[in-house]
Symmetry: C2
Subunit: 132 residues, 2 copies
Amino acid sequence: MVNKLDKNTPQRRAIVQVFTTCPQPLRIGEILQKARLIIPSIDQATIYRNLKRLVEQGWLLKITHPLAGTMYERSGKEHHHHFYCRKCHSVFELPGCGVNNKQVVAAGMTVEDHEVFFYGLCHECSRLTQEK
Amino acid sequence: MVNKLDKNTPQRRAIVQVFTTCPQPLRIGEILQKARLIIPSIDQATIYRNLKRLVEQGWLLKITHPLAGTMYERSGKEHHHHFYCRKCHSVFELPGCGVNNKQVVAAGMTVEDHEVFFYGLCHECSRLTQEK
DNA sequence: ATGCAAGTGCAAATGCATTATCATTCGCAA
DNA sequence: TTGCGAATGATAATGCATTTGCACTTGCAT
């Protein structure tokens, strides 16, 4: 149950299911696609409306990825960053973080948080490229 | 002189001047604004056309900032990252980098590069907030 | 079981950054 | 200096993601 003020519709349940099933951050198109496997008639306006709600309620996090655009992922995860594969365009979550904020503090700024985006070839695409 | 195939117009010179004068990455609007201090009649279509050229020629780098959107900065700088002030919305360059790619290599991915975005309050805005 | 506010699907509308069109101007090679 | 292809300014058009209006459906409190 997400919020007692919201109705528990099959569409919303489908969207929630998509995220509980899939660990990576997802683009609108991917969410729509996956949700349609559950409810074929689901519309993208419904996706947008529910995503907005789920973000407001803190159940989802909205990410703006420099290359992949707007994405959503479940909130409450440990601090982590993302890897983008330039070949298959998938985005993966990377646990951990190797960033130190010292340099920023030195510059007199107050750092609240940060975000790191890695780019390259994912495991699968790396492998396919090598065995050429 | 950027490229002998291009005409050396006052508009292009103005844009180049903006970037040689200003060290931070700039948004379209900021570039337009600053260029108009030099050539008041300059149009934004001209800005777009020249930015495109300058990027193709490798003189500028296009950045997609999660919060600030599309920005441009001079290329050839040392590896660095950016700080975004949530209050005044300015973007500053931060020299150096505290990222290690080890974790990614461990995950079987081939990292080509990365980008870090810091968020918080800039020096100026931090100061103003404190002395309240 | 019923009523109604909330949610949905569909399609059109919006907002926005960016690009294209085109008549005019201008840089620059000859 | 002159001619022409490239560049500019002004504006319209495009492409996109996102939103909205509306008629219809549905969850859920009563």
